[in-house]
C-alpha cells in the first residue's frame, strides 16, 4: 500500500466513504504518481500540449481497409458526413420550426390581447395552457422558441421556469426577477433600479424590483412560463399564483403552463383558490407522431436524402417511438447515429451520393475495388451477368479496376432510388384513404410493394370507380408525375417517364369521353365490377316462387368502360411492380442496414447486463477455468458466487449462513484450498460489491440479517 493511501486512512476511514460516487484510482496508478500534487502554474502548459493532437491535420475518423486507407479518403469520408448531416439537420430544424409555428402565433396573439384587456377583470391572471403531450423532451424546444418569439414581439420580459431550478418560493422569485430584469439591461442598469428607490436596497426576491423595472420600461406584459407544470410542487404553484394575482394590479403578469397530461388532471391538483384566480385559454401543439411522420417523409423518403435506412431498422425505430420515447429528439439522435456509423465504419461510404458533393473517384485505392468486389450486391450483379452469359464482362469486372470504375460511375446516379420514391409517391396519392408513409416506405424498401395491401387497395378501388372519379384519380396521378411532391422533395419527372404519362393521359381522355357520353344519354356508366354481376330473378309460376340467377345486362358503354378499367389496372400493376432496393447494385452505399449499433447505443439494458455478468461470468470473462454453464462454481469471482447464492435466498438473509455456504464453496469442502481468513476477505469484498450495487441492505427486522432488495430478471 502506498504512502498516499496511508495518509488518508489514518483516521480509520477514507474521505471517499461518505461520497456517493467517486473516481476509483487503482493503487498501482497512485504509486506511480508523484507524491506531491503538480503545481498549478503547470496546468496552462499541459493544456496546450493536450490541444496539440486536435490540430487540423489529424483525422477524425480511423483508417479502414485494414489500416491501408489513405488520409485523403478518410478526410473525404468525414467531409461527406459533415455535409450530409448538416443538410439533413437543417431540414429537420426547418420542420421543427414550422411545426410549432401555429402554436407560437396563437400564444403571441393571446399575450398581446391579454395585455390589452387587462383592466377589465380584477385579480385574475390571464394564463395560457399549452398542451404539449406526454413527451417532456420536446417541451424544451417549444419553450425556447416561445421565449425567443415573445421577446421579439412583446414588449416585456419573458421568464421560463423549469421544475428543476425551482426548489422553493424564494428561489423562484429570485430567478424570475433576475431573468426578467437582466434581459434588456446589463449590470449598470440594475444598480439604477435600486437607487431609484431613494437609496433603499430591496431584497432580491421582492417583486417590487420587478414592479420598478416594469414601470421604468413601460412593459406590456411580464410572461412567466412554467415549462413542466406537473413536475412543480403544487403548493409552490399555488403560492406563486396567489402572489402574482395579488400583484397583478401593478405588474401585468401573463402565465403560461406547459401541460403534458391533460388540463383536467392539472386542475384536479390545483386548489380551488388558485384556479379561481386564473383565466385560461388552451393551446394545442402538434403531436409528436405526426411530426415524426413529416420528418420521415422529408428525410428518409425525400428525394435528396443522402442516406436511407433499411426497413428493419426503421421498424425498430418506429417501435421504440410507439412503445417508449415518442420524442422527435430521440428520432433525430438515432438518425444522426446511423449517419455517423455509416460514414465512420464503411470505407465505401465515399461513394454515397451526397447532395452538393462532387464525386471524384479518380484515385481510388486498390483496396476500395477489393471492397466493392466483396459486396453482396456486386456478387448478385455478377451472378445475373453470368446468367445472361455475359462472361467477358464478368471477367473484366472481376479483374480490371478501370472497368469496375466505369461501372461504379455508371451506377452511382440516384436514378434507381428515385424510381422507387416516385412510385411510392404515386401510390400514396392514389390510395383511397391516407396511410402512414412510414408503412409505405417499409413496404417499398422491403421489396414487397407489389404484393402489398396498398397496391391491392388501389387496384380494388379503381375497379369500382365511376368514370368521373376515375378521371379525377388519373388527374391526381398526372399531377404528381408532372409536378412532383414537395413533401418528399421530388421534382416532376414527366420528361423521364413520358411513356407512362402518355398512357395515363390517354386513359384519362377515354374515360372522360365515356363520361361525357354517359351524361348525354343520362345513363350512368359503371364497370362490371361495380355492378353486381348476377341479379337474382324471381318468377312466379303456378303459384310457386322460382328463384333464378341471371347475368346483369351490360350496356355497350359499360363493356367499353370495363375493358378500359382492366387495361388501366394491368398498366398500374405493371408500374407498381418495382424491384427491391436490395437487388440494386451498390445499394450498400446509400442504404444503411445494421441494427446492432442502434440497439446497443439506444436501448441499453444496464440491469440485465449486470445480472448476466454476475450469474454467468463466463460470458464476459471467457476464461479457461470456468465452463459456459450457469450455476455455482468455485472458480467464479467471489462476487458472482455470492450473487448466485443470494439468488436462492428469501427476503431476509442470515449473514452467517451465507458465509458458511460461501466458505464451503470457496474452500472446496474438506480440501481446504484456502485459508479461512483469506476467504473472509473475499467474502467481505464481495458483500461490499453487492451492497454498492444496491442489492442488499442492512435489515432492522432481525439481528445479523441482511435484507434482499432486488430480484433477478426485473
Amino acid at each position: 500500500m502506498s504512502d498516499h493511501e496511508d495518509d488518508n486512512s489514518h483516521a480509520g476511514y477514507h474521505d471517499t466513504d461518505h461520497q456517493s460516487a467517486y473516481v476509483y484510482i487503482p493503487s498501482n496508478a497512485v504509486a506511480n504518481e508523484p507524491t506531491r500534487p503538480s503545481k498549478r502554474r503547470k496546468i496552462g502548459k499541459q493544456k496546450s500540449s493536450d490541444e496539440q493532437p486536435g490540430d487540423p491535420t489529424t483525422l477524425e475518423f480511423d483508417a479502414l481497409l485494414n489500416g491501408k486507407e489513405t488520409s485523403e479518403w478518410i478526410q473525404r469520408r468525414h467531409e461527406l458526413y459533415v455535409r450530409a448531416w448538416s443538410h439533413t439537420e437543417s431540414q429537420i430544424q426547418s420542420i421543427l420550426d414550422e411545426a410549432n409555428e401555429d402554436t407560437l402565433q396563437d400564444v403571441t396573439k393571446f399575450v398581446q390581447e391579454s395585455s390589452q384587456e387587462r383592466f377589465d377583470q380584477t385579480e385574475t391572471i390571464p394564463s395560457g395552457f399549452i398542451i404539449t403531450g406526454p413527451n417532456i423532451a420536446s417541451q424544451g424546444l417549444l419553450f425556447d422558441q416561445l421565449s425567443a418569439r415573445l421577446r421579439a414581439e412583446i414588449h416585456g420580459p419573458a421568464v421560463i421556469l423549469r421544475s428543476g431550478d425551482a426548489p422553493n418560493l424564494k428561489a423562484v422569485l429570485k430567478r424570475v426577477i433576475r431573468d426578467a430584469t437582466n434581459q434588456k439591461n446589463n449590470l449598470e442598469d440594475d444598480d439604477e433600479i435600486s437607487s431609484g428607490l431613494g437609496g433603499r436596497k430591496l431584497l432580491n426576491y421582492d417583486l417590487e424590483v420587478l414592479h420598478t423595472f416594469v414601470r421604468a420600461q413601460g412593459s406590456q406584459a411580464v410572461i412567466v412560463a412554467f415549462q413542466d407544470s406537473e413536475a412543480f410542487d403544487t403548493s409552490l404553484i399555488t403560492d406563486l399564483i396567489a402572489l402574482f394575482s395579488s400583484w397583478s394590479d401593478r405588474i401585468p403578469f401573463v402565465l403560461l403552463f406547459g401541460i403534458a397530461t391533460s388540463l383536467d388532471l392539472f386542475q384536479e391538483r390545483l386548489p380551488r383558490i388558485a384556479s379561481k384566480s386564473l383565466r385560461g385559454t388552451q393551446f394545442d401543439v402538434e403531436q409528436t407522431s405526426s411530426l415524426v411522420e413529416r420528418m420521415f417523409k422529408k428525410i428518409l423518403a425525400g428525394g435528396n436524402a443522402p442516406l436511407r435506412l433499411s426497413p428493419s431498422l426503421v421498424a425498430s425505430l418506429v417501435e421504440r417511438q410507439q412503445e417508449h420515447a415518442q420524442s422527435v429528439q430521440s428520432f433525430t439522435a438515432a438518425l444522426k447515429y446511423s449517419y455517423m456509423c455509416h460514414f465512420f465504419a464503411d470505407a465505401l461510404s465515399i461513394l454515397t451520393p451526397v447532395l452538393g458533393a462532387s464525386p471524384s473517384l479518380d484515385h481510388l485505392q486498390p483496396e476500395h475495388y477489393e471492397a466493392v468486389r466483396m459486396l453482396p450486391s456486386f456478387k448478385s450483379h455478377i451472378k445475373s451477368l453470368v446468367e445472361t452469359q455475359d462472361l467477358d464482362r464478368v471477367v473484366d469486372l472481376l479483374e480490371d479496376d478501370t472497368i469496375l470504375l466505369d461501372e461504379l460511375e455508371a451506377c452511382l446516379s440516384n436514378k434507381p432510388v428515385l424510381h422507387l420514391l416516385r412510385t411510392m409517391s404515386v401510390i400514396s396519392i392514389s390510395l383511397p384513404d391516407p396511410v402512414s408513409s412510414i408503412d409505405l416506405y417499409m413496404a417499398t424498401f422491403d421489396g414487397t410493394l407489389r404484393d402489398s395491401d396498398f397496391v391491392d387497395r388501389i387496384l380494388e378501388s379503381t375497379k369500382r370507380m365511376a368514370p368521373d372519379e376515375l378521371v379525377s384519380f388519373l388527374q391526381r396521378i398526372c399531377g404528381v408525375v408532372q409536378d412532383g411532391s414537395s413533401e418528399m422533395d421530388l421534382d416532376g419527372w414527366a420528361d423521364e417517364d413520358e411513356e407512362f404519362l402518355a398512357e395515363i393521359i390517354s386513359f384519362q381522355s377515354q374515360a372522360s369521353d365515356l363520361a361525357n357520353e354517359a351524361s348525354k344519354t343520362g345513363k350512368p356508366i359503371r364497370s362490371s365490377y361495380a355492378i353486381r354481376s348476377q341479379g337474382l330473378r324471381t318468377t312466379v309460376i303456378a303459384q310457386r316462387v322460382q328463384l333464378s340467377y341471371e347475368d346483369s345486362t351490360l350496356s355497350q358503354q359499360d363493356k367499353q368502360y370495363t375493358t378500359l378499367v382492366d387495361k388501366l389496372n394491368d398498366r398500374l400493376k405493371n408500374y407498381f411492380d418495382i424491384g427491391s432496393p436490395q437487388e440494386i447494385f451498390l445499394h450498400e452505399v446509400w442504404l444503411y442496414d445494421s441494427m446492432l449499433p442502434y440497439r446497443e447505443v439506444f436501448t441499453p439494458k444496464p440491469r440485465a447486463t449486470i445480472e448476466r455478468a454476475l450469474s454467468a461470468p463466463y460470458d464476459y470473462l471467457k476464461c479457461e477455468c470456468c465452463e459456459s454453464v450457469e450455476g455455482l462454481s468455485s472458480t467464479h469471482p467471489a462476487t458472482a458466487i455470492l450473487y448466485q447464492m443470494y439468488l436462492e435466498t428469501c427476503s431476509l438473509i442470515n449473514v452467517f449462513d451465507l458465509w458458511s455456504a460461501f466458505f464451503e464453496m470457496v474452500s472446496g469442502g474438506d480440501e481446504q484450498k484456502m485459508e479461512e481468513r483469506d476467504a473472509l476477505v473475499l467474502f467481505y469484498s464481495a458483500l461490499a460489491d453487492l451492497k454498492s450495487l444496491g442489492m442488499i441492505k442492512p435489515s432492522k427486522k432481525k439481528a445479523d440479517h441482511l435484507a434482499k432488495t432486488t430480484w433477478k430478471g426485473l
Binding site: 406526454p134 417532456i136 406537473e230 386542475q267 410507439q322 439494458k605 440485465a608 430480484w711
Partner: protein
C-alpha cells in the same frame, strides 16, 4: 382651543355607507376607533370570512380620514386641519417570509411619512421596533402642535408565510414603544387571545345574509340588457339572482364574489330565450321552467381553468371523459402498462400478489372464479374491512411494481417477437417520466435518493382513468384487483 373629542364627520360616513351597503355598523365603529379626535385605539382586530369587505372598507375609511378634513368643518373650528392621519397597508400575501414583511413595513411607512432616505436594514422584530420608532419620532417632532397618528394595517397577517412565532404578539406591542401608532390586524378568524394582550377591540365583519346579498347584487348591472328596457332588466335580474341563490349558491360559494360571478356567468344563457324572442320577461316562472337545467347543474360552481361560457354547462361530463381518454392515447404503450402496474401495486395488498401474478396460480384462479385464496367465511374477519379502493393508494417499492409490470405485460401479450424488456433502461426512463408528470408520486421528500431500491412510489390517478388506460393496452384491471 381644539375640541378634545368629536365624532367623525357624518357626511363622510354617509358617503361610505352608500359605497358599501349593509356595513353601516362596521364603518361607524371603524371610523370612531380610528379618527384622531374620536376614540383612537392602539390595536384593532378586524375579522371575518373572505369577501366580507374587511380590507376594502378599512382602506377606504382610512383614505377618507387621512384627507385633510376641511370641507366638513368649514364653518367650525379650523384646528382640525392640523390633525394628520397617515396609514400604511402591508399585504401579507405579498410578503415572502417574516423578514420581507419587516422590510415591506419599513419601506411603506417611510414612503407614507415622506422620509425615504437613510433607513437601515430591518431583519428582525427588534430592528423593526427601533426603526419604526425613529421614523415616527422624526415625523412627530417636525410638527409639534398638531395631533398626528400613524395607522399600520397588516392585511391577512394570519396567513403570513414563514412567520416568526412571536410575530403577532410583538406587532401588537409595537404600540407600547412607538408613539401615536395604531395597528390594525385583518384576520379571518382570530384564536382567543392570539395577540397575548387583553382588551384589544375586535370588530367582526359577518357574512352577508341573503337579503343583504340580493341588495348588493341589485347594484350590479348585468351585461346584456334586455330589449324591453332597463327597468325590466333590473326586475328580472333581482328575481333571477334570488333564484340562483336558492338553487346554487346557498349550498356552495356563499360569498358575494363567487355568487356574483356565478350570476354573471349564467345570465346570458338565462335570458337567451328572451333575446331570441321565444319568451317574454313578464311571467318569470316560465323563464325559470325553460331554464331549469341551469339551476340543476352545479358544475358551474367549480371554477374552470379554461373559460368558454358556451360549453361549460352544456357539455358537463363527456368532455372531461374524452380529456382523460386523451392521456390514455398520448402516452406510449409501455408507460401505460407501467401506470396500470403501479395502480395494481398501490391498491393490491402485497400478500395477494402471488395469487394474481404467479403463473402457477393463474389457472387455479381462473377456474374458481378469482380470489379464492382470499375469500373467508362471513363473520370470521376480526375487524370490519374497508374496501381497498376507498382507502386511497398505498406506497409500493419499484421492484414490486416492475414484477407486476412484467406479469401483466406478458398477459397483455401483444409483443410477440419483440425485444425483451427485462432490465431495460427505457422502462426505468418511463418510470421517471411518469414521476415527473406526477402520475406517479415519489414518496419521501425531495432529498430521497432516487437510485435507492427502497424508494417508494404511489399512483396518483384514480380508478376511472386507469380503467381507460388499461383497456387501451388490452388489460382488464378487474381481473387483477383484489376485492
Amino acid at each position: 382651543m381644539a375640541v378634545l373629542f368629536s365624532l367623525p364627520n357624518e357626511v363622510m360616513l354617509n358617503a361610505l355607507c352608500a359605497q358599501f351597503p349593509c356595513r353601516d355598523q362596521q364603518i361607524r365603529s371603524l371610523a370612531t376607533l380610528l379618527s384622531v379626535r374620536a376614540a383612537p385605539c392602539r390595536n384593532l382586530v378586524l375579522h371575518g370570512l373572505a369577501a366580507t369587505g374587511k380590507s376594502s372598507i378599512a382602506k377606504t375609511v382610512l383614505e377618507y380620514l387621512s384627507k385633510r378634513q376641511t370641507n366638513g368643518y368649514a364653518n367650525g373650528s379650523t384646528q382640525h386641519d392640523d390633525d394628520e392621519l397617515r396609514y400604511a397597508v402591508i399585504k401579507s400575501a405579498e410578503c415572502i417570509g417574516g423578514r420581507h414583511l419587516f422590510e415591506q413595513t419599513i419601506s411603506t411607512v417611510s414612503k407614507v411619512i415622506g422620509r425615504s432616505e437613510n433607513v437601515g436594514r430591518c431583519e428582525n422584530l427588534a430592528q423593526l421596533a427601533v426603526e419604526l420608532s425613529k421614523l415616527v419620532e422624526n415625523w412627530t417632532a417636525s410638527e409639534q402642535d398638531s395631533r398626528q397618528r400613524l395607522v399600520l394595517v397588516f392585511d391577512g397577517i394570519d396567513r403570513q408565510r414563514d412567520a416568526p412565532p412571536t410575530l403577532l404578539p410583538a406587532l401588537a406591542r409595537l404600540v407600547e414603544i412607538v408613539p401615536n401608532l395604531t395597528t390594525i390586524f385583518i384576520v379571518t378568524s382570530p384564536r382567543p387571545n392570539f395577540l397575548h394582550l387583553p382588551g384589544v377591540p375586535h370588530l367582526e365583519f359577518p357574512a352577508y345574509t341573503k337579503p343583504e346579498l340580493l341588495q348588493i347584487l341589485a347594484l350590479t348591472e348585468p351585461s346584456p340588457v334586455l330589449p324591453q328596457g332597463t327597468k325590466e332588466t333590473k326586475d328580472v335580474w333581482t328575481r333571477y339572482s334570488s333564484a340562483i341563490w336558492d338553487s346554487l349558491s346557498k349550498h356552495s360559494g356563499r360569498d358575494i364574489l363567487s355568487f356574483r360571478s356565478v350570476c354573471l356567468r349564467l345570465w346570458p344563457r338565462f335570458i337567451r330565450p328572451i333575446l331570441d324572442g321565444t319568451l317574454n320577461p313578464s311571467p318569470f316562472s316560465r323563464l325559470m321552467v325553460a331554464n331549469r337545467s341551469l339551476f340543476q347543474n352545479d358544475s358551474i360552481l367549480v371554477p374552470a381553468l379554461v373559460s368558454n361560457p358556451q360549453s361549460t354547462a352544456l357539455v358537463p361530463q363527456s368532455q372531461s371523459q374524452s380529456n382523460l381518454q386523451g392521456i390514455a392515447i398520448q402516452l406510449p404503450h409501455i408507460s401505460r402498462l407501467l401506470l396500470v402496474a403501479s395502480y395494481l401495486a398501490s391498491y393490491n395488498p402485497p400478500r395477494t400478489d402471488s395469487t394474481f401474478f404467479m403463473k402457477a396460480a393463474l389457472a387455479k384462479r381462473r377456474k374458481k372464479g378469482g380470489g379464492t385464496a382470499l375469500s373467508r367465511k362471513p363473520g370470521t374477519a376480526k375487524s370490519r374491512k374497508i374496501a381497498r379502493k376507498l382507502l386511497g393508494p398505498q406506497a409500493f417499492v419499484l421492484e414490486r411494481m416492475l414484477a407486476i409490470f412484467l406479469a401483466i405485460e406478458e398477459d397483455a401479450g401483444k409483443r410477440k417477437g419483440k425485444a425483451a424488456l427485462n432490465g431495460s433502461a427505457d422502462v426505468l426512463m418511463a418510470v421517471t417520466t411518469l414521476a415527473s408528470l406526477r402520475l406517479l408520486v415519489r414518496m419521501g421528500g425531495p432529498n430521497q435518493d432516487v437510485l435507492d431500491v427502497g424508494t417508494k412510489y404511489k399512483i396518483a390517478i384514480g380508478w376511472e382513468v386507469i380503467r381507460g388506460v388499461a383497456r387501451s393496452v388490452g388489460v382488464e384491471v378487474e381481473d387483477y384487483l383484489a376485492d
